[in-house]
Amino acid sequence: MKRRNIASVSSATTADPARVVPYLLSLPAFLLFVGVVLVPIAMTVLLSFHDWGQYKGIQPVLILKNWREVASDGYFHEMFLRTFRVALLVTLLTAVLGGPEAYILSRMRPPWRGMFLLVVLGPLLISVVARTLGWALLFGGSSGVINKALINLGMISAPLPFMFTETGVVVALTHVLMPFMVLAVWAALQRLDPQVENAAASLGAGQATILRRIVLPQVLPGVLSGAIIVFSLAASAFATPAIIGGRRLKVAATLAYDEFLNTLNWPLGAAVATLLLLALVTIIVGCNRLLERRYAEVFR
């Protein structure tokens, strides 16, 4: 009697309905993913092959006009070059500033560590637009608080060029994206055995040597994964370049926005957006592959 029960239960779990259940359960999420991610991307890619004219509007044909334009026009080359230059600079700056920041945080004593971690991560709770506008208030032309103060103190005669400059965009983006780098390095530091530094010290290594030879190599994967996050966010950032860079200093994201909403040339905007997506995916997948190959031996 008992035996038969067990047999029937086990046969039920291997039967067809049981195998279908996991798929059924994940179906809603899958449909949502298809609906809000895959379909719009596919439509954008398709759109980039359509034709457009001032008076005829969007023509649903398949031509390479937009792609040829993006590939041949120096204007677009400049945009994309600027986008990746800014993203690279922001990534380097967050790594150089955020790495030490995370290390100092991890060495703090408990009450202070929690407080300062909150200080570092707190800005994430505030809108990117608000944080970027803060920079505009500080440096925006001759009425910006800092520019005004420096001019009144007689230290500078003209306001510091910040708005509508690449420097301004890089500085503001670095500030906005810093928490992501700190978090990534922080996570890597948490995995560090605290005794490892003591071990190096007992073998005669000074503090600088310990940092360079022991801590840095172990934290490097964390820095690199933080760099991937920061780079992709910086390259696709919209709000900060739009506010600081404005119309004069466009990057790929603001360019696509302008093509869509000002020129109303949707197909060209779609081509720009698709190219940005492809470039980012290529760079990120490449970096990830490199990271995994380089550190597989050590960290897996």
Binding site: A199, G204, G206, T209
Partner: protein, 347 residues
């Protein structure tokens, strides 16, 4: 003769006293074990010797020079950490070479010494492997090689075998002892495992609540425990409440001659020193076997006697053994019985 001297070393964390006036002298080439339960201050003591914790008071002297103000990097000590603390981004050979590199030793000499030390710990074949790809025992050997290669003035071992499984631990105990004998490095071992301390050490320091309860060779500490804590911590022991009179003690229906003062006292007898006696024997206690447990190489009995439950351990020698419920008589030699283990004397 004296090499390392700890003089009234103390460490307090706020209100809590971690190490309390610990004094210890270690001779050159000696292996001394700090043994005690967790929280007894043994690891804190090691950390102070290594220089990772400053002592609250007292001093540490090595070859007559005060170490207290010397930075950890300049102390020249080899440390094997409980977690091994290997550098995961370096191969075994690079791990071992690190200390020599810090000393600025030339490449050829360095390679030679790394090879030699890896061979000493039996890892010559795994020099190019990363720690994550090694077993616990192999990582342990790398940690040992890394500490030994710099020819440390003292080798500090912090629970070195606690992360290994029982069988491997026994093998490593023997090997560790042999390596220490071969190299002759003065060694301080911190452990909570009494069998490890007894197997490895020339002398053991039994610690409890920051104090040294007894400092003695393992055999002596086991046979002549200075306090009740030591008696209980080192192996099992039977502690009986007995009455002594002018020329002996009466335990149940048995009588043992002993030189002691009359009055109530305690007697402690190691379970393996107790024998089953023939019915006629005078100095023996009658009892009934309550439980009998087979443990492979020995039998463990609990025997109900008029003075309480006694534990008896007998070798599994193949002779007939009493069963549960059998009436037995237990005997032991007078000299195997310690009367009044000091312990009440301490506050």
């Amino acid at each position: 003769m004296t090499y390392l001297v700890l003089d009234r070393l103390s460490k307090t964390f706020g209100e809590q006293i971690a190490v309390d006036q610990l004094s210890l002298t270690v001779g050159r080439g000696e292996l001394v074990a700090l043994l005690g339960p967790s929280g007894c201050g043994k690891t804190t003591t090691l950390q102070m010797i290594a220089g990772f914790q400053p002592p609250t008071s007292g001093s540490i002297a090595l070859e007559g020079n005060d170490l207290t103000a010397v930075k950890p990097a300049q102390r020249g000590l080899g440390i094997v950490f409980q977690s091994y603390a290997l550098f995961p981004h370096m191969t075994a050979a690079e791990n071992v070479a690190f200390g020599l590199e810090m000393q600025g030793i030339a490449r050829a000499e360095r390679d030679r010494r790394v090879q030699q030390t890896l061979a000493l710990v039996g890892l010559a074949a795994l020099a190019d492997r990363f720690p994550r790809r090694m077993s616990g025992g192999q990582q342990q050997r790398v940690a040992l090689a890394r500490a030994l290669v710099i020819q440390p003035r003292i080798l500090l071992l912090d629970e070195p075998l606690s992360n290994l499984d029982a069988k491997l631990r026994e093998d490593m105990q023997i090997e560790l002892r042999q390596i220490q004998r071969t190299v002759g490095t003065t060694t301080l071992l911190v452990t909570h495992d009494q069998s490890e301390a007894m197997a490895l050490a020339d002398r053991i320091v039994v610690m409890n609540q920051g104090r040294a309860e007894q400092i003695a060779p393992p055999h002596e500490a086991y046979e002549r425990p200075a306090t009740a804590f030591v008696a209980n911590f080192l192996g099992r022991t039977n502690i009986l409440q007995v009455r002594a009179d002018a020329d002996g003690v009466q335990i149940g229906d048995g009588r043992w001659p002993a030189a002691t003062t009359a009055g109530p006292t305690t007697a402690s007898i190691r379970p393996e020193k107790i024998l089953f006696a023939p019915a006629a024997q005078r100095n023996a206690v009658s009892g009934v076997v309550k439980t009998r447990i087979f443990q492979g190489n020995h039998w463990l009995y609990q025997v109900d006697t008029p003075t309480g439950l006694m534990i008896v351990i007998r070798q599994n020698s193949g002779e007939a053994v009493p069963s549960e419920g059998d009436a037995v008589r237990l005997t032991w030699r007078s000299e195997d019985m310690m009367l009044k283990v000091a312990g009440e004397a301490r506050t």
